[in-house]
Symmetry: C2
Subunit: 217 residues, 2 copies
């Protein structure tokens, strides 16, 4: 298809497509004459992936480039390609290995992951993210022992095993697998978070025997 | 206790305490002389609540004032007081009732909540938040029928019933109940989100038979 049709089918305006081509995020089409290039299904997949990274993941262009480099590097197996997207989506957290609370929380996180038998890289930034949440909870006097965290971990694994992971097409085009991972992680994650808050409102009403609560209390 | 001790015990600097007093977020102490006021446990609870709303909930001062007004308004029952904090924490979403996709998603959300028998106010902003997530998922071609969303809702309710809601002291001081709700909603919510991403990484490795993935994979 020509660039105009690629634009219609993807919903991405032509100037934006040209920008992605210049930035190397979208591979060049097949040049059929000096002024014409042909695009195919793989370009449509790539545009969907860029849109998911940009609009759903809200990632900066430099990070999107890293993810796309991993998609294009066929020597990288699917798991490591997905890992790149995965790590790109985590909020960077400054570790404080000199701080005693941090050390203790990090040991707890590492032990939890080991005891669960989860295969997560020792340097994965997600470990720091969890450590930070544990440190903050502990400073506020909330329960954060392994026993306290374990039911959250089990619930998370059930959700991933039964729902999230079943949606990812591991054996299709690489772009599509990464796009689906980003959507699952961000949007079903958001949907779940809202459902949790709806359930909290409902349970609080049930326990207190109250009628549902209007906005602005 | 005097203001200096209140500062030591709460970890909040004296100038910040004076700012909260001026803004009416913290009730005045008991004036014992022209230059001395006495503070008590209730002031400590209030300072913890302000810190939770500010640092954990990342709410602006105007929103914090609304939550604190609800805490101080003893005519408001506990459920409605908690509801104010609850709604303050939701991300404002612009509804699009004129849009067909929006209408359809909103009907789905309302039906889901009704079928679950959840007690959530018809005007709760959380309904709009979920509607927006559903609209986005649907436009990206992801499954969003009631059947697709139901398992997420059930998992959310289990989590709330078994874990979140058990932590809230409904019959203690009003400040403490609201503080705990904010911490549970934001920080255990964050911890769960990270655990979900850790589980995704681990499950992807298991399914693909890969070794765990280093950062910058």
């Amino acid at each position: 298809m020509r660039i105009s049709q690629l634009s219609t089918e993807s919903g991405v305006p032509i100037p934006t497509i040209k920008y992605y081509l210049r930035e190397g995020l979208l591979p060049q089409g097949d040049q059929t004459s000096a002024t014409r290039a042909e695009y195919d299904q793989s370009h449509l997949h790539r545009l969907r992936l860029i849109r998911a990274l940009l609009e759903v993941g809200r990632l900066p262009v430099a990070t999107i480039r890293k993810v796309i480099d991993a998609v294009e590097d066929e020597r990288l197996d699917v798991h490591h390609m997905l890992g790149t997207a995965h790590h790109a989506l985590s909020t960077p957290v400054e570790p404080h290995p000199e701080d005693e609370d941090w050390q203790e929380a990090r040991e707890l996180v590492d032990r939890l992951i080991a005891d669960l038998g989860w295969g997560v890289h020792p340097l994965a930034p997600t470990r720091d993210e969890l450590t930070q949440a544990v440190v903050t909870l502990k400073r506020l006097g909330m329960p954060t022992s392994q026993e306290d965290l374990l039911p959250y971990a089990t619930a998370a694994l059930d959700l991933v095993r039964d729902l999230d992971i079943t949606k990812i097409p591991f054996d299709g085009p690489r772009d599509v697998a990464v796009e689906t991972l980003v959507i699952c992680e961000v949007l079903y994650g958001k949907a779940f978070d809202v459902l949790r808050r709806l359930a909290q409102e409902s349970e609080s009403a049930r326990i207190l025997g109250a009628t549902p609560c209007p906005p602005e209390g």
